[in-house]
Amino acid sequence: MMASNLGELSLHAYQTRLPSFEGPLDLLLHLIERQKLDISEVSLVAVTDQFLDHVANLDERGPHIIAEFTSVGTRLTVLKSRWLLPKPPVTDEEESPDPDDLVEQLRAYQQLKKATAQLNERLGEGFSSYAHTGTGPVVRVQASKETRLATYEPKVLLAAIRRRLSVVPKTIQAIRARKIVSIREMTDRILAAVNGKGQVSFAQVTADATTRTDRATAFLAVLVLVRRRIIDVEQNELFGGIDLRSGEGMDPDALLDMESDFVN
């Protein structure tokens, strides 16, 4: 290679700073711009040796990349040889387009570099935007696609509740008074509580019992469950709290004929 030691040194120094070029055009453009030259055949000839020197040092790259650099290097060599040799009058116009293409190609690449820089600047500002992915309004989120609900005025709700309240309230007391808790219901409640918490006190079970009848029912229910070993009870002192917990015979089927205990 014809490169001077100085040229080789500076190129290597630069390479360590800017480790990779995006291909031969990138390198070529860099070499030309570094010497503050315009893109022309003259400037291409001027940087040919440096370019070839760089190609010679492409050792770690893949063959594919080396081929790309070599291809451009060959075109440069042709160009340079034309300049070095005595010039015959050019008659054949088809001879020249190849190096000219390289000039045009390089100019286009320079444009691309400029466009890239502008895009990069845009990115540097960090001004991204984020697409709307929100939950959006309800009309969109609705579960069922086949039947969508009509929208209503709030006054519809008001009308519904006023209509109800103008009719019903007087009957509420009657409903409550007639409510009787059966032993079966009570055992279900106790079992649910024992199953849920592992242990409950009798006081908790009867916390909601408003009448003596309800408390009596609860006590009977406890007796039934104990007798069938579905629950165990423990009372540590006279009139003390009674704790209820799961018993060994905890079997739902055992409850089936439970009401027979109280048939009489």
Partner: protein, 196 residues
């Protein structure tokens, strides 16, 4: 991080946040997430809520905020989304929904105490429609489920929050809200374990 946003800019930021959040955030979450003080977020939000030229409203569901289309444009939005074929709520559903809306949180027994009829089917329907949801369990035996209304409910009725529900007013010389509360209290006393 100190912020140099104007109130208007903070409002616009909130708008941006609501646009991209997948779940409706609270004011506190916005403040923490953007490192802006709660006070500034609240001021920005107040400014935002005053804007009348938007196509949407800020809906407050509890402490959560979300953007929903403005009721003024509901008909065109529905038209655009092809929602003209709509199912209507039955009068039983409407009545039950009204009870949940006005008295939430409320259990099935409390609802039945007022309506006087079994309401399990209606509640299931309303739940499936996304209008109501379980919000808690009562601390009595059986731990019955308490229902409340959802953000979907608010949108359907064009409400910004539950505070926007029209007051029940006076019925037969009695205050409607008090009547409901009394009915609820009496039902509470006979609460059964059937929700367990």
């Amino acid at each position: 991080m100190p912020v140099d946003y104007t109130t208007e800019e903070t409002g616009a930021l909130i708008e941006a946040i609501l646009l991209v959040s997948t779940e409706p955030p609270t004011i506190d979450e916005i403040a923490v997430g953007t490192e802006i003080s709660v006070k500034e977020i609240e001021e920005g939000l107040a400014w935002l809520e005053q804007q009348t030229d938007r196509g949407w409203l800020i809906q407050r569901h509890g402490r959560r905020l979300s953007l929903v289309t403005h009721p003024r444009y509901a008909d065109r939005v529905r038209m655009f989304l092809g929602l003209d074929r709509e199912a209507k709520l039955s009068s039983a559903s409407l009545e039950t929904l009204a009870l949940v809306a006005y008295q939430q949180p409320v259990t099935r027994s409390e609802i039945e105490a007022v309506r006087g009829v079994d309401s399990s089917g209606v509640l299931a329907t309303l739940h499936a429609r996304g209008m109501i949801e379980p919000v808690a369990r009562l601390a009595t035996v059986g731990n019955p489920i308490q229902y409340g209304t959802t953000a979907i409910f608010l949108s359907h009725f064009g409400l910004q929050s539950l505070d926007d529900l029209p007051p029940i007013g006076i019925i037969n010389g009695k205050d409607g809200h008090e009547m409901l509360a009394a009915a609820q209290a009496s039902a509470m006393a006979t609460e059964t374990a059937d929700e367990a």
